[in-house]
Symmetry: C2
Subunit: 103 residues, 2 copies
DNA sequence: GCCTTGGTCAAGCATGGACTTGAGTATTGG
DNA sequence: CCAATACTCAAGTCCATGCTTGACCAAGGC
């Protein structure tokens, strides 16, 4: 959908056309895209036309960059720990309870 | 869990301890981690001990790097298209049907 | 006027993932 | 020998997502 919109604005119908989905489903997608600021829409008569919002895409880009940085940090940390020689003697820290994800 | 394992091998019990989850749930996590090659486990008596598999982590890292590259490519492409002046005259390509994701 | 078109809304269904429960098994300390 | 421990396994629950359906409504077009 975003790809299609990057080639110029389109109505909901047009967005739905190539997509093996009901119109309603597409509308839902459009709604979340609008709420998250990636696109803007405007209703003219009975037609709602959608276009990308460049500013919003910048936000999206920033989001992804952050995400990426986070993963990089994790991997680096992990890499460091793996590079270290394994601690042969048991010296287990007593479970700090910081924000921590599972798996 | 991976974080914990990066500080040295541990039994399933130990992994479960700080995790507000049943043992069985942890075992499930351990299974997928093992299947995807991130950890290796060995059963000694009634205890299954788990350790990270450095090689497996390399695989995981490669996976993430690929993923990242993919997103970068997408964003770049999108950025390019946005940078272009909007095509004012209607010159809509007739919907090529290549592999394409929704939204 | 009235049927068609493009969209809207609410409800509901299907699926998948993460977790729990409960029953069972093998090891092990006493 | 017995009970506790450390799992294992199958089944079932819960919940979020993504989509469909059907009723509805406001433009158009003829």
């Amino acid at each position: 959908m975003v790809e299609r919109l990057s080639r110029g604005p389109a109505s909901v119908k047009e967005l739905a056309a190539p997509l093996a989905m009901s119109l309603a489903a597409v509308v839902q997608h459009v709604q979340v895209l609008e709420q998250s600021g990636v696109i803007r829409t405007e209703k003219v008569g009975r037609v709602r036309s959608c276009r990308l919002d460049p500013a919003g895409l910048n936000v999206a880009e920033r989001w992804i960059v952050e995400r990426r940085a986070l993963w990089e940090r994790r991997l680096d940390r992990l890499g460091d720990l793996l590079a270290e020689p394994e601690p042969s003697s048991e010296q287990r820290a007593p479970d700090r309870n910081t924000t921590e994800e599972q798996s």
